[in-house]
Symmetry: C2
Subunit: 548 residues, 2 copies
């Protein structure tokens, strides 16, 4: 039996696009003698549809899309993901379902049992979990069909009461198929590989996983659909962030004796996949909105340099516009470094001084500021003047302003709301400053794309004379370690201090993180590449006391 | 037996404050001969703690707080809400629990069975649902103790497989106690009253409900803790948005023969409760952040007028600062109406022209805008110049900028990002424009607080000559009806048109709503007074096609 994994790029709610892709894949697979094409979770509507699921019309369209795809399942069968209406008189209105379609009709249905509701996932918001599980017969074989999280309950402590695969095993299946919408995080790749490998090994069955590929605002899906043999060895996979279908022969996969492996990435491989993920994320955001052009403020510093490199790679240098916005405290090297980068990339750049605007603002405010010492208010005027000029150009020329804040800044609130925190998309908002340095060195591995001076000089916001980030913040190696332990690992101040940090500094940093939830509440969507990004996956109260 | 309902104002994560309030309430109740004091859901930590629940330390503090309260339960018993660790080896780490504490020790525990995970609720993100339910014995009576949602499964179609009360009835309880954290929405009050009344009636038992009171950023909790007799008649309740404890005699409640009633509010009562809710929301936001002063831009229009009236009521006129920011297209009556209102309220106001700043911006951008027609970009410069000046004053004087956008504008994206969409808190962002008029007339019921001209003149953003809202938008009576049907009732374009609207207009409005998700993603928290506010209760994809 030939099984094809279809790793396609759906657009949420764009049924014509999605069914079109699926119908093309079916035709292509049929021409290659494929018996069964496996599409990913909620493939007809794209994942995650969020509250669109609450609209009756949306569910109607999903059902119609399944029928449209079914009409093309002649001589080739398919597994399609779609929400379906809960036929019971209790529970959530919907089920997260997978349909096996053969000869134009639905021959089997499976409903998801384990509904991830943590981090960026909120499936129990919409779906009732299934509690009974049966294999689906297909051409003399029994398929143990599961949906994404259903296979993620194998390690203790188990997050769910039941394990759908344990139930399905009672039917003595011949193979496992899993349809997924598992988002990308660089440090999640090894977990995911282990989970699938371990399932195949545990149940001694070949496993075929079809994962969604595509960018959905902040959530990136890499795909990496794969087949595993019953020893847990990966027989083959589709590349990350690449669309396409891959055909496997069931017997060959079953008989393969490739051993189970552990996925372990080098620093350079990590940088490579993060670079590709961010470029993909930009491309997807613009592409799916039907937009082409990006604009950003280029300061001569590392963050905007990195953002511009990524944007130029994603959109083409001809679609990027860099604006140098020197102000009263900008250094000469900032302008020179920014120009140098723009020329290296072949990106159009303008220089617009903010001084005139800042002067006008200060004159207008002077009668009210009289007798006060210059401080944050005056510094913020500069950052906000830059934002207004950038947004003016963005509005005039139909560009999206890219936000250039990094994760360390976002964490401690080292940024101006309605100033440098503006933008339609935060490109490196899930990259700590130390990771940004590593990524910059990776980008420069063959030639100096980002000027060395941009990488080597001490970081500064340049909002007052001789300002340095280290005036307000600890060195980034220390800051980032504290942040990672607090944000990713949920360690307490005491635990972080015990890991080798000054207890007072730890408390100070944690307070900065907690006191700036209100700023992060208003930031643009942040391309998510880690397991814990700011945004929909981290829901903290704005008004609260935080334990120390 | 005397039962006291304690309707207290907790601060999320502020254990010292919360246990202090509870211990005071216990002492007071004891002095009044009370047998049992009932605190609300998750009372030790405040509701909703969100991802603070993911921190081990936070749970440790919750446990300690229960012990601290327990130490004061001598001669008086208490029911306390707190998260507890799940002792099972599977499922979520936590349970949402209620402890019956007597003689200084925990004598009974109940875990919540129904976990609301919709709209603003996300309890399955954190908690494992209980599946077995037992009554708790106390002084010869059997208490059917439940937590909030546990009582909300009485009408078909039932959202949950099980009904905890049905299970508890097998134990033949003598009374029902429910601890809640049920947020305010004006149109939800009748549902809530019905639900409690119906439970008492259905199970033929007296019911005591203790609900949380307090503002938690955008979520407002009105309390309205109450006791119902076995016919469903409400025997007594604590006022909305008021703290305190109320003592009931179990026998008297049981024997009361007040009939079940339907709660129905007049337009004036609705305006009254919305007015009180918004004032309370402002007061709570500032109070719990330890802030005092608000600033806002006063345009002479209805929205900023309404916001200022509410802020002055909440914070005192002496803590409010209004800024008139006339620009090139501001009319004379705008300035006059704004001054008139500020004087009516006794609020300090300044006038700062934006012309100098707008000129500077336009000069800086002129070389780049050359050959283009003035349009949205130029209009937005004005709105953003205002925001920068307001934020400058806010930063300088430690004020919070209040956002003045209404729900109709927020819905269709009729506002400038980083301009009039700025602010720390959106006061009337859950009030449609037609509701804003109604509220303004209510405020003026005895004397003209808001100048009549502000209410009567046609609304205008005044960003270009003779601009009117109706240049871009349908009349608000039509717009708001379409919006309400789409946003609150989830009706489709076809259904809305069939209810009596021009199909093309409906499609245009729905497209505006859908195309502006990206703007709403960056708005401040909006005080929630309806069942469906923009914010955490409405999760729409930013990049998607929406069904029409």
């Amino acid at each position: 039996m030939k099984i094809a994994l279809a790793q396609l790029n759906y657009i949420i709610g764009h049924f014509e696009h999605n069914t079109g892709l699926m119908i093309d894949a079916l035709a292509h697979a049929k021409s290659r003698g494929v018996d069964l094409v496996v599409f990913s979770e909620l493939s007809v509507c794209g994942y995650p549809p969020r509250d669109l699921l609450e609209m009756d019309l949306f569910i109607d369209y999903c059902q119609e899309a399944v029928q449209q795809v079914a009409a093309h399942c002649q001589g080739v069968a398919a597994i399609v993901g779609a929400p379906s209406r809960n036929p019971e008189s209790f529970g959530k209105r919907l089920l997260n379902s997978a349909f096996l379609i053969n000869n134009g009709t639905v021959e089997g249905v499976y409903h998801k049992g384990l509904l991830p509701t943590y981090d960026v996932f909120d499936e129990y918001r919409y779906f009732e979990p299934a509690t009974t599980f049966k294999t689906i017969p297909f051409r003399g074989k029994k398929i143990a069909l599961t949906i994404c999280e259903d296979l993620w309950n194998i390690e203790a402590p188990q997050l769910y009461r039941i394990s759908p695969m344990d139930e399905l095993m009672k039917d003595k299946p011949d193979l496992m198929i899993n349809i997924s919408a598992s988002p990308f995080a660089w440090s999640h790749l090894a977990d995911r590989h282990f989970t699938f490998s371990e399932n195949a090994r545990k149940y001694r069955l070949p496993l075929f996983v079809s994962n969604q590929m595509g960018g959905h605002t902040e959530l990136l899906f890499d795909g990496r659909s794969a087949a595993y043999n019953p020893q847990g060895g990966m027989v083959g996979c589709i590349d990350s962030f690449a669309g396409g279908i891959k055909v496997f022969d069931l017997d060959e996969v079953t008989k393969s004796n490739l051993p189970a492996t552990v996925l372990s990435l080098s620093e350079s491989e990590i940088n490579d996949i993060i670079f590709r993920a961010l470029v993909f994320g930009i491309k997807e955001y613009f592409g799916k909105l039907g937009l082409k052009k990006a604009i950003l403020g280029l300061s001569g510093g590392l963050d905007s340099a990195l953002t511009l490199v990524l944007a130029a790679e994603a959109l083409g240098p001809e679609n990027c516009r860099a604006v140098l916005l020197p102000g009263p405290y900008s250094s000469e090297h900032s302008v020179a470094d920014a120009e140098h980068l723009a020329r290296n990339l072949g990106v159009l750049y303008h220089t617009i001084s903010i001084n005139k605007t800042v002067d006008a603002l200060q004159q207008s405010l002077a009668p009210h500021f009289k007798g006060t010492q210059p401080g944050i208010a005056e510094e913020n005027l500069q950052a906000r003047a830059r934002a207004v000029i950038l947004m003016g150009l963005a509005n005039k020329f139909g560009c999206v302003l890219l936000n250039t804040s990094n994760k360390s800044e976002a964490a401690v609130g080292y940024g101006t709301l309605y100033g440098d925190m503006c933008g339609g998309l935060a490109v490196i908002g899930d990259i700590y400053k130390t990771e940004a340095y590593s990524l910059a060195r990776y980008i420069n591995r063959e030639r100096e794309v980002i000027p060395a001076n941009t990488i080597n000089k001490p970081p500064s916001a340049e909002l007052k004379p001789d300002q340095r980030d280290t005036d307000s913040l600890p060195p980034y190696e220390i800051l980032d370690d504290i942040l990672q332990k607090y944000i990713e690992k949920r360690m307490s101040a005491t635990q972080i201090a015990a890991s080798g940090h000054d207890p007072e500094l730890v408390k100070k940093v944690l307070r900065m993180v907690n006191n700036n939830e209100y700023k992060r509440h208003q930031t643009p969507p942040i391309l998510r590449v880690s397991k814990k990004a700011f945004g929909s996956g981290r829901k903290m109260p704005l008004v609260a006391r935080f334990p120390e």
